[in-house]
Amino acid sequence: METIVNKENLSTENSLKIIAETMERSRKTIAKNLGKPLILWGCLVAVTALVIYFLWSKTGSPVWNLLWFAMSAIGVVCNIIMDKNKEKAPKTEVSRIIGKTWMWFGIFATGFYFLIWVAALIMRYFELGNIVVANMTLVIALLMGLCGVITGVVMKMKSVVACLVVATAISVVVALICNGPAQLLVFVVLGILGLLIPGMILQNKTKQN
């Protein structure tokens, strides 16, 4: 790497060159490995959805959906390990927006499941009848699609936005048509098309840089 010494007599052209080169070098370091978390979560979501699908289909019990919480815990631990091993880079406005967007997606998605579970228990305990359950898969698919599109827009990557729009459209249709374990196919689509492939595109782009 070129070493920058403290030269005071700069030409105007040289000054602009230093600004452009330093900004570009820093941008590349920051963008490195930005796709890895998406690849990790894409694999986790798709594999967990397939596992729950098979277990639910075999046993007929939706209780296997609790595996989503186990998946979240595994994902968080893997993320922490990945963060420790990767080259330290400062936070930018873009990385902060993407990080917070997905963090809030996690909070909303987990919170939504948790609230419905608590509401169902309360209604059953006080014998108030059944709760009106919304199509949870549809809600999660829309939330995930929105977060993914925000990621693509902020990163200025049209291919990522396109992947997420297609994934969300397919997921919404499947979520509206299918019932029971078949709804889990939505998460297989979202995991592969909405997370894994955009992650690979991002990773590939930063490697090319």
């Binding site: 403290n6 005071e8 700069l10 602009l16 330093t22 900004m23």
Partner: protein
């Protein structure tokens, strides 16, 4: 014919130095950066970088915070509003200089 005279704003001498300009170029794009990162990006020696960071800090262009990461000391730098304005003005002045055709 009346001769048109162009007056140039002088370039900020604090920013018109290779290493200080590089430091400001890094900090303008991030929320904050630690000493190790800036050193790696610029390839400067620790001593030289330290001196230049002190100059920028004394001018109020950057904030330097010394903290601990475990048992190690960690120097975190972030650009201030004054530094951001000075950098923007420096770039604007540079553009003015470059717009004048060379004879």
């Amino acid at each position: 014919m009346e001769e048109k005279q162009t007056t140039f704003k002088p370039l900020d001498p604090l920013l018109h130095s290779e290493l200080r300009l590089a430091v400001m170029s890094i900090l303008i794009g991030v929320e904050e950066a630690d000493f190790v990162y800036i050193k790696a990006q610029t390839g400067a020696t620790a001593g030289n970088l330290s001196v230049q960071l002190d100059k920028l800090s004394a001018a109020g262009y950057i904030e330097v915070e010394k903290t601990f990461k475990g048992k190690k000391t960690c120097t975190i730098c972030r650009i201030t509003g004054k530094g951001r304005d000075a950098f923007a003005e420096y770039v604007e002045t540079l553009k003015q200089y470059l717009q004048i055709p060379k004879v």
